[in-house]
């Protein structure tokens, strides 16, 4: 470790030193083997045997029974029995088992001792999986939360991230869209980057493998625990990938003596609630509105000396549409089933253990024609060669298939939902003969296809095969010194096919259109080799745990895509029938990471705890001047309750104070980003295509990872023998060198360059309390409540000015001194009610569409008497004041009941759907309240909706009328279960049936469909709080069963 702490660049020489170091280690390891044979040769004096059980009489397998003060010890077998030779009849046995209180038993010359262990309510001895190992909860000095999958198992959802909503302080989990199998966004402690929406997600580590693919396709039924590492001291061992926090997932492994077969299944129905549906005009209202639009055009035309504009016949008699017309949103929706089946086999002996899980999931989307299927299997096996060597193999293949067309986003991006709700309600979905109409056209509106056809006839099918596999060996070299080596692979083969028939189309492009199709293949994998040495030893009251290791990971991606057109007809919905093809795309991407990891955990009497860790990462993504990064961390803890002076306060059963500081990074920057590259720039001469090449970007030899430094101070305490436990953390994080594709003057010949620019600060408080309100025996009730407060502030934006981005119509802005992602635009103050109001107010005088009486009135924030881009100001804050969650669990006899709620308070949302659904050009269907717009000085309407004026650009700019409070409280899950008594059944150990409701009720004043939305808008830097219309998140009611076979 000493070799790596110097601050000079990590050159080839120091790599060789590291390699030599590892080679030396191997020599030590090998020679140490020779010593092993000479161990344990003490004379035998007294044999003691017995059985270990729990207080309720259950046999406990794998309990450590040792002779106190010696290394001499054994584990109980599958029947809970042990046999141990001790020094003499006066020896003392030390009996330790996870989840139980450690017990000391004097032998007192008894040859047979049966021991009962008491449950440990305090959970201090619970083992928690942490970076590169595990730790007893009582010894942890960082901010770490772990969740057992069993506690969240009943939710009828497809992704585990949906299950942990509302469960953990400091972890904001939002379901941004309801697309089956997609749409979860997780931000730990406010983590953000400027370089894309995906790269602020935490690092997922499954059984020790940092994943390179997404986490969505992991079957939640395979998971044993989630550990969420939040502060820098607990994540620092993941170095340049740790800045967004780390979620460690451990899959299920059978224990010795465990033999079971379990079957879990549920079937549910998903529906879209009425609340939050778009409130657009019906056919009668719309026809009246369009009649007004044409009257206004007629008036203007005549005023300009024209001959007038006739009102189209469709709009002359609005009442003819009473009870008729099309509700386009409703047309796209359906009630949809979701079903899941999982079978798990657990089998364990002293020698080997196996867990095998297979699962099938099938979710129809609530939007027509969308579907998600997942078939998954996992086999985790471990084999003990002898007491020294254990090898294991985990293999988990998954196949998933997603069918979903372009549902989300704004109309110009082709978002089907927004396009459908803004299209004409007087236009029918079907012809009188029952066949589907081709287009949705009404006079004055843009050409539109029949959006039901687009949703059902367009194809966008993605298939993804994945293999996640690890092989590992643990070798005990000498007592307390373990070597672990592993080889891991994460392989994904993704295939996508799209199809758009001639009967499909888009805004401005009503059918018939040219049919088109595309296909892509995206194959990527990463392999990871890890070698670690771990030494755990106690010298009297001094307990040491030392880790050193070396890891190497490489990622490779092959991407190929092809699109074509020129189809003779719509009969073959595949690229195969295309006759003309666009230039195909082929790309190969790679990155690599070579790292050294080390950690020292030390404690004195389990009372004073110190942990120090260090990682050094070298990555292909980092530029020559920044090739290596050092990521140190240190943390301390004090188990105050173990001090003598605390023994007089019996109410406090545990109290621990913690503090930690560390440095880590975010390496989610582009591959080869620092290298000036070339690109293909072909030209044709005289009709002949001629190859051309040009420089594609400006190089940057200083490009580096994003850096994050974090201080965490926390306390854990429990009262009344663990009945109430409380955890609190304060954190202060500074993130700097944020990568951004910064705009450069176009005069350079380029538009942007990748550079590390910004510095941000995050501060926050996290608080959680768990209370065992009632502990039975018949009625048990526990409550967990957690709440977090996160504040962000932009400290610096580098040499590029005081705000980003410079897109004049961006929805969010990053401004020095302000929180992240603030909304930026005009401040809406009403409409110019009359000529006097108009004359007295500031106006937009631009030549394109100047203000007039009845148009929108914005605040003249700079007081210069005119409204222009300089009056844009901060109009909202999408960052919630706090987020919170609460879970209640009750059991009464054979019944169990659980409720989980999750919410956020105080964040604003920007409903950009209104840019279209309240547009006053007369080209879209609009919300019902537009009927109350300004019509004349005598009839000025509600003062909110301006008059009909074609081309009023200003009204379509980002303004505060689109901003509203996004606070919400969602009842995420309610489950009621009943365990059927199975006393005398020869085959079935237990059966539990349950009903579960997901996303039951959303309490919010927000009028859009989903207050958790956070869409992408243009070139904004941090895209938060933006609603561009997304796939609705359904309410699901399900019925399930858990069966355990003997």
């Amino acid at each position: 470790m000493i070799f790596f702490t110097k601050r000079t660049p990590y050159t080839g020489a120091s790599i060789r030193i590291a390699c030599t170091f590892l080679l030396l280690l191997s020599l030590i390891v090998n020679s140490a083997q020779a010593l092993v044979a000479n161990h344990n040769l003490n004379p035998i004096a007294f044999e003691v045997s017995g059985t270990v059980t729990s207080e309720t009489g259950e046999v406990l397998v794998g309990v450590t029974v040792s002779e106190k003060g010696t290394p001499n010890g054994v584990s109980t077998d599958v029947n809970g029995k042990f046999k141990l030779n001790v020094r003499d009849g006066n020896a003392t046995l030390l009996v330790r088992y996870i989840g139980f209180q450690t017990k000391e038993v004097a032998v007192n010359n008894s040859a047979v001792i049966n021991i009962k262990l008491a449950n440990d309510e305090r959970k201090l001895n619970e083992v928690v999986v942490v970076a590169y190992g595990s730790q007893k909860r009582g010894d942890i000095t960082g901010a770490v939360t772990s969740i057992k999958a069993d506690d969240v198992k009943d939710a009828p959802v497809t992704q585990f991230t949906q299950m942990i909503q509302g469960k953990t302080p400091g972890v904001q989990v939002n379901q941004t869209t309801g697309i089956p199998g997609q749409g979860m966004s997780i931000r730990i402690r406010g983590a953000v980057t400027f370089s894309g929406s995906g790269s602020s997600q935490p690092l997922y580590v499954v059984d020790g493998v940092p994943l390179v693919s997404d986490i969505n396709n992991i079957n939640p039924d395979e998971i044993e625990t989630f550990t969420i590492l939040k502060d820098a001291s607990s994540t620092a061992l993941y170095g340049s990938r740790a800045a967004n926090g780390v979620i460690i997932i451990t899959t299920k492994h059978a224990k010795a003596g465990q033999n079971s077969l379990t079957f879990n299944a549920f079937y549910g129905v998903q529906t879209v609630p009425q609340k939050g549906r778009p409130d657009v005009m019906n056919a009668v209202e719309f026809a009246q509105y369009e009649q007004d639009v044409f009257k206004e055009q007629d008036r203007i035309n005549r005023a300009n000396g024209g001959t007038g504009v006739a009102i189209p016949v469709e709009y002359q008699n609005p009442s003819q549409y009473a009870g008729k017309g099309t509700d386009w949103y409703n047309v796209l929706l359906r009630n949809a089933p979701i079903q899941s089946y999982n079978l798990a086999l657990n089998s364990g002996t002293e020698k080997s253990t196996t867990t095998a899980t297979i699962g099938v999931l099938n979710q129809d989307g609530v939007l027509v024609a969308s579907n998600y299927k997942r078939y998954s299997a996992r086999v985790n096996s471990e084999y003990k060669f002898n007491s020294k060597i254990t090898v294991g193999l985990n293999v988990a293949p998954t196949y998933e298939k997603l069918a979903n067309t372009n549902t989300d986003g704004n109309i110009f991006g082709g978002g089907i939902i927004q396009n459908a709700i803004t299209s004409s309600p007087i236009s029918p979905v079907r012809n009188p003969d029952g066949s589907l109409t081709l287009t949705s056209q009404s006079p004055g509106l843009f050409g539109n296809p029949n959006w039901y056809r687009v949703a059902t006839e367009n194809k966008n099918n993605t298939q993804k095969g994945r293999l996640l596999s690890n092989g590992y060996a643990n070798i005990q070299i000498i007592k307390d010194l373990n070597f672990r080596t592993s080889l891991n692979i994460d392989y994904v083969n993704e295939q996508n096919q799209t199809w758009s028939p001639s009967t499909s189309g888009g805004l401005f492009a009503p059918p018939p259109n040219q049919a088109s199709a595309s296909a892509y293949s995206n194959i990527y994998y990463s392999w990871l080799a890890e070698n670690t040495l771990n030494y755990k030893h106690s010298f009297g009251d001094h307990n040491f745990d030392v880790l050193v290791g070396y890891t190497a990971q490489k990622y490779h991606q092959d991407f190929n895509s092809q699109s074509g057109f020129g189809f003779p007809n719509d009969n073959i919905p595949s690229l195969a029938a295309a006759t003309q093809f666009n230039t195909p795309t082929t790309s190969i991407q790679e990155w690599s990471l070579a790292s050294f990891v080390s950690r020292l955990n030390y404690n004195y009497k389990n009372r004073y705890l110190v942990s120090a860790s260090f990682r050094r990462d070298g990555s292909s993504r980092f530029a020559p001047n920044t090739k290596y990064g050092n990521f140190p961390a240190v943390s301390v803890g004090w188990n105050v309750s173990q001090e003598q002076f605390m023994q007089n306060i019996p109410a406090i059963s545990d109290l621990k104070l913690r503090a930690g500081y560390g440095v880590n990074g975010n390496f989610n920057i582009q591959n080869y980003g620092f290298i000036p590259n070339t690109q293909t720039t072909n030209y044709s001469f005289n009709g002949v295509l001629t190859p051309g090449t040009s420089i594609a970007n400006i190089g940057n030899n200083n490009l580096s990872w994003e850096k994050s430094k974090q201080l965490d101070i926390g306390a854990d305490f429990s009262l009344f023998k663990g009945r109430i436990s409380v955890s609190y953390d304060y954190f202060h994080k500074t993130t700097s060198s944020l990568l951004y594709q910064i705009n450069v003057p176009r005069e350079s010949g380029f538009s942007s360059i990748a550079d590390n620019v910004a510095k941000l600060q995050f501060k926050g408080h996290e608080f959680s309390i768990t209370s065992q309100n009632l502990v039975g025996p018949a009625l048990r009730w526990s409550t967990n409540f957690n709440i977090s407060f996160v504040r962000s502030k932009i400290l610096d934006l580098g040499p590029y000015g005081t705000s980003l981005p410079r897109d004049p119509n961006g929805a969010n802005i990053e401004m020095i001194g302000q929180p992240l992602g603030m909304f930026y635009g005009y401040k809406f103050i009403g409409v110019y009610k009359n000529q006097a109001d108009f004359d007295a107010s500031a106006k937009y005088t631009g030549s394109d569409s100047p203000s007039q009486v009845g148009t929108v009135k914005y605040a003249d924030t700079n007081g210069d008497g005119i409204i222009d881009a300089r009056d844009k100001t901060i109009i909202g804050n999408p960052n919630p004041d706090f987020t919170y969650g609460m879970t209640n669990n009750l059991t009464y006899k054979n019944f169990d009941f659980g409720v989980t709620v999750s919410g956020a308070y105080g964040g604003d949302l920007q409903n950009r759907t209104l840019e279209y659904t309240q547009n006053l050009d007369g080209v879209f269907n609009v919300t019902k309240d537009v009927a109350n717009r300004w019509k004349s000085e005598a009839d000025p309407g509600d003062g909110v909706h301006p008059r009909i004026v074609v081309g009023t650009a200003l009204a379509r700019n980002t303004n505060s009328r689109w901003v509203s409070d996004g606070s919400f409280l969602t009842v995420k899950n309610v489950t009621l279960g009943y365990s059927i008594p199975m006393k005398n059944n020869n085959y079935i150990k237990s059966i539990r049936v349950y009903t579960s409701g997901q996303q039951l009720i959303v309490f919010t004043k927000y009028k859009g469909a989903n207050p958790e939305v956070s869409g992408v808008e243009g070139s904004s830097v941090v895209n938060i709080g933006i609603d561009n219309t997304s796939y609705p998140v359904p309410r699901t009611i399900s019925f399930g069963v858990n069966v355990n076979l003997k």
Partner: protein, 489 residues
């Protein structure tokens, strides 16, 4: 023992990953700058890449070059809105502001071309490639750099003068140079290019000595340096160019005997296409009977509509009138509609919507003859000028000019350029060069608004000296604080 073998194996594996090269990866599907610019083929590909911005510049050049003038406006387009429309309307009616995508595209595309030529010109002198190849490639790069700067200086005035490859953020921003300095650089580059380039290229469509001399002629004419312009343009007449007998054929085929500098397009999916035939077609819901493929042209088309004023400028019997202007078309339902549109570049049927392969001629021989006539007349050599003018008139089926004195001939040449080169993006720059822009456009604006009542009431009300050049894009001023905006914007 088994353990030791396993351990040794694992360590050997991890050591293999210890090599420094493990974390030094280079792109596998692209060539990096470090390994490019070695061979003649590399330089050739770099020069080919420098032509590419011409496609996008030329495809939209009519907005600032023709719709700004009295030759063209646009069709009525009720209900349509948004920047893609208003930016063009605003340029046409002198209502444009510094945020305008057409202005930004021209500015940015020219500089993309300049950066590509700078990267070549920085390196080519020191390279060891064949001398003849080097001279030809260098000449092409210098011509292109000169052309891009000439576009910039004519439309925006003095601009930042980047003559070296930009290789760091610090080098991306420069202050504006004076228009004089920009012109000096253009003349230096074009003069050198004229001496390096051959009169004829093996690959048709690549720029030649004639291209460079024509560019030089234009530059000198713009600077009113008539004797130097006369030399350059007279040289062009000795390079073997000739007028294509049938006017319509100039635009119907590629790289004719008349073509001096022509931007090359290719129809199809290779990304080499233009779409100006669609942009100039009427904005109707189906253009299949005009252009071939079915498609809604409402948001694509309706631009560069011939003005009554232009139509009136054609003399009786002028064969160019029907070759340039369509007076009726058949709509999607098969009905004949009587209305005018620019059909000079319509050579369907095209296979696909919005995808054409027609080239766009920037300089051609008739243009040189008329420019030379103007040049001679301005120097008081009306007698020498008239034969050049008549050559062009004769091809159009017209009698010799009756103008005899300098003043009459000046009017005759200007009118001849207007109709001969209608829709070829010369009219606006001709008006500016000859000092006619303000008076002509003011008179035109008053009339056109009565003929086309859908034009905004405030269009053509702000025609001043300041409006003879366009604003620098606002996005540039925001980033490069050394820039100053043109007065009046």
């Amino acid at each position: 023992m088994r353990t030791r073998i396993l351990l040794a194996g694992v360590l050997a594996l991890s050591l293999s990953a210890c090599k420094k090269s493990f974390i030094e990866l280079v792109p596998k599907t692209t060539v990096t700058e470090a390994t490019f610019f070695r061979t003649a083929d590399d330089y050739t590909q770099a020069v080919v890449g420098s032509y590419v911005p011409l496609r996008s510049i030329t495809n939209d050049a009519y907005v600032m070059g023709e719709m700004r003038s009295d030759n063209a406006t646009y069709f009525a387009s009720p209900g349509l809105q948004g920047g893609q429309f208003s930016d063009k309307w605003n340029i046409s009616g002198f209502l444009d502001i510094a945020i305008n995508m057409n202005g930004t595209n021209k500015y940015a595309s020219c500089y993309v071309g300049i950066a590509r030529t700078n990267a070549i010109l920085d390196r080519i002198d020191a390279s060891t490639i064949d001398a003849a190849v080097k001279a030809n490639l260098k000449g092409q790069a210098q011509f292109l750099r000169a052309y891009y700067y000439f576009e910039l200086v004519q439309y925006f005035g003095g601009v930042p003068l980047h003559l070296k490859e930009v290789s760091s953020v610090a080098e991306t921003a420069l202050p504006r140079s004076s228009a004089d300095d920009v012109y000096k650089q253009i003349i230096a580059d074009a003069t050198s290019a004229a001496s390096l380039l051959p009169a004829k290229q093996t690959t048709l469509g690549m720029v030649t000595q004639g291209s460079a001399k024509t560019l030089l002629g234009y530059v000198y004419m713009t600077l009113k340096r008539y004797p130097e312009a006369e030399t350059a343009l007279t040289d062009v007449t000795k390079l073997g160019y000739s007028l294509v007998p049938n006017y319509a054929n100039i635009f119907a085929s590629r790289n004719t005997a008349e073509s001096i500098f022509e931007v090359q397009y290719l129809e199809g999916p290779q990304g080499q296409q233009g779409n100006f035939a669609f942009q100039f077609a009427p904005n109707i819901s189906n253009v299949k009977n005009i252009l071939g493929p079915s498609g809604d042209n409402k948001t694509t088309g309706g631009w560069n509509k011939p003005t009554p004023n232009l139509i009136a400028a054609y003399e009786t019997g002028d064969t160019r009138k029907n070759a340039s202007i369509g007076f009726s078309y058949i709509d999607g339902d098969g009905n004949t509609v009587t209305d005018t549109y620019c059909k000079k570049y319509t050579h369907g049927p095209y296979a696909n919507f919005n995808n054409t392969g027609d080239d766009w001629i920037i300089y051609r021989y008739a243009d040189v003859l008329l420019l030379l006539a103007e040049c001679l007349n301005e120097q008081g050599k009306a007698g020498q000028a008239i034969p050049y003018l008549n050559q062009v008139r004769s091809r159009a089926g017209l009698a010799a000019t009756i103008a005899a004195n300098q003043a009459d001939l000046r009017v005759a040449i200007a009118k001849e350029r207007r109709v001969e080169l209608a829709f070829e993006n010369h009219r606006w720059l001709d008006l500016v060069r000859t000092g006619q822009a303000i008076s002509v456009m003011t008179a035109f604006g008053a009339t056109i608004k009565t003929q086309q009542p859908y034009l905004p009431a405030n269009a053509y009300t702000n025609i001043t000296q300041n409006r003879l050049i366009f604003p620098l894009p606002q996005s540039e001023l925001d980033i490069n604080k050394q820039l100053t905006q043109n007065p009046g914007y």
